[in-house]
């Protein structure tokens, strides 16, 4: 039987404020255990939390950037549960009146635009960190993260594959970075996703029973966890078992998920309005002024790249996926180099190196990339050598001209030596020469390749091509 997977995501994003949501402690990452704490964020009795204005501003911006309706009236609620990472025994969150509701974003899946609904975005506080000391007699708690402001973006169950889920998270991350409300550093936990997943026989309207996997903090783990859970559920159903609604923990090292029944009983949160925090009112005028203050969003940038720089839509979409890369691109084209050339290098060499090194930005500047492109257009280096220069520049971001000199990567401009190599290649590859002469024009590519190999890639392939053609034509 064919199955369809149905997924909804809850994405937690840490906001880039200076202070925590209800107190004046710093939100700086790291820090000695329990040194970013005060009586408010450690839940001492009798303390009075006061809302950080910036948290509300950021949540409204996030809502507007995802086409949500902003609530004129919103309030905070207490979500009650016992776990030592939460010193008050409740988390301050939003229940029935969240700040943003009913939005959507459009994602690109296999060249098609798909709209993913956003159910709601609400504000809440982060919890502390449990330090499980192996073999120790207890658990230790660090409350530095406790009270750091978060927004939770809840999607509709509109996602139909692990790949779609990944694209959706990438898009949300890119939007949040563009509007500057979070750095979304996944390795520091600034963006975490909970994946709700169920499967159903293709064509069935009713949803299957879903499971939830919490706190996935890399694109890779979101993708792997979703794929694994999809397979697991289908297997269970095929074996005649039923899916139990539960929370599962994904272990990225083992590539497996585990049932967490221990947490199940606590799912009765008994929400009630936070008595110490007053409601939040936002006027229509304020919403309009927030709307006007939003920076250029990815879609607007895509349009600008297509119209002003004449880039293909494909390039524009990839470049704007990350704000850092789009900024890098825009810096490079300031130096009078063709935008399409810059785009090719970024999408090719640069992106490949970034993937290998797991980097979000290249270590060199857009200006340096522009310099490499100019070295090629001036004939100082061959286009083959350009990728080597970029490789060296990635390891050590020096001036590219210096790299060319130090590593002796300059183009082979010594005509005499080149002619000699070309003659050799022609005499050693008579078959290809014959093929070419008999009209198989593709055979020239092989010969160019042979010459490039002999020159260790230093010759300019266009020049070699031209010289080879002339030479072979003269042989007739």
């Amino acid at each position: 039987m064919k199955y369809e997977v149905v997924m909804g995501l809850e994405i937690h994003i840490e906001l880039a404020t200076n202070t925590k949501i209800f107190c004046t402690c710093t939100t700086a990452f790291g820090g000695e255990v329990n040194t970013h704490c005060c009586p408010i964020c450690t839940g001492m009795p009798g303390t009075l939390p006061v809302m950080n204005r910036k948290v509300v501003d950021f949540a409204i911006k996030a809502g507007l950037a995802t086409n949500c309706t902003i609530a004129n009236f919103s309030k905070m609620d207490r979500k009650n549960y016992f776990y030592p990472d939460l010193p008050k025994a409740y988390q301050v969150s939003q229940f029935d009146l969240p700040i943003c509701e009913k939005g959507y974003i459009d994602i690109e899946v296999n060249g098609q635009t798909k709209r993913i609904g956003i159910t709601r975005i609400h504000m809440e506080e982060d919890a502390g960190k449990l330090i499980h000391d192996e073999g120790g007699t207890g658990s230790l708690i660090d409350y530095n993260r406790c009270g750091v402001p978060l927004i939770e973006i809840v999607s509709e169950p509109d996602l139909r594959s692990a790949e779609e889920a990944k694209i959706y998270v990438e898009k949300i991350r890119s939007i949040m970075q563009y509007i500057g409300i979070s750095d979304c550093k996944m390795q520091e936990g600034s963006l975490r996703a909970d994946v709700n997943l169920s499967v159903r026989p293709m064509g069935q309207v009713a949803f299957g029973t879903r499971t939830e996997m919490k706190n996935l903090n890399s694109f890779k783990s979101i993708l792997r966890a979703a794929l694994h859970e999809e397979k697991r559920q289908i297997k269970e159903i095929e074996n005649g078992n039923i899916i139990v609604q539960e929370t599962r923990r994904w272990d990225d090292d083992l590539g497996k998920s585990f049932s967490m029944r221990s947490k199940e009983e606590a799912h009765d949160y008994r929400y009630f309005p936070a008595p110490d925090l007053v409601p939040i009112k936002v006027s229509d005028e304020e919403i309009i002024s927030f709307k006007n203050s939003l920076p250029e969003l990815p879609q607007a940038r895509i349009n600008r790249y297509i119209n002003d720089y004449k880039l293909p839509e494909y390039d524009a979409k990839i470049l704007t996926n990350s704000k850092d890369i789009a900024d890098f691109f825009e810096e490079a084209i300031k130096y009078d180099v063709p935008p399409k050339k810059v785009s090719n290098y970024i999408m090719g060499n640069v992106r490949k190196l970034m993937n290998i090194n797991n980097d979000e930005v290249p270590p060199f500047t857009g200006e340096q990339l522009a310099m490499v492109i100019k070295l090629v257009s001036k004939g100082t280096i061959s286009s083959n050598m350009a990728s080597k220069v970029i490789g060296f520049m990635y390891e050590d971001p020096k001036n590219p001209l210096l790299i060319v000199k130090e590593k002796n990567l300059g183009a082979m401009n010594d005509e005499g030596a080149l002619i000699k190599i070309i003659d050799e290649v022609i005499s050693q590859n008579q078959q290809s020469v014959d093929d070419y002469q008999q009209g198989k024009k593709k055979a020239i590519g092989f010969l160019v390749g042979q010459v490039m190999k002999q020159t260790k890639g230093k010759a300019n392939p266009q020049t070699v091509n031209k010289m080879l053609v002339e030479k072979i034509n003269n042989l007739k």
Binding site: K54, L130, S139, L140
Partner: protein, 95 residues
């Protein structure tokens, strides 16, 4: 609505409390009594009354996003029943 002993034990469990059978029985009766008393409110006609979202008639109390040095850690840990290396220590949590 009749509050049962099971309801009492369920709520007690969420609050990390344990009762003897006798206590739960007694508590069920008392809670039932309280809820019945509150049920009188359901008899009122509230069609034209706007729901109250919050007890206080004020809104928008905010502070600016300015960092103030945090507390001295030893002060914060003073009342902790148990501590280790600057951290609060609790009975072992098993996942």
């Amino acid at each position: 609505m009749k509050v049962t002993k099971e309801t009492v034990n369920y709520v007690a469990n969420l609050s990390r409390l344990t009762f003897t059978d006798e206590e739960a029985e007694k508590m069920a009766g008392q809670m039932d009594h309280i809820l019945r008393y509150m049920e009188q409110l359901n008899k009122l006609d509230t069609t034209d009354v706007t729901p109250m979202e919050h007890v206080k008639p004020i809104s928008n109390v905010f502070r600016d996003d300015l960092v103030v040095p945090s507390y001295d850690r030893s002060e914060l840990l003073k009342n902790a029943p148990n501590q280790e290396n600057g951290a609060f220590k609790v009975p072992k949590i098993v996942e």
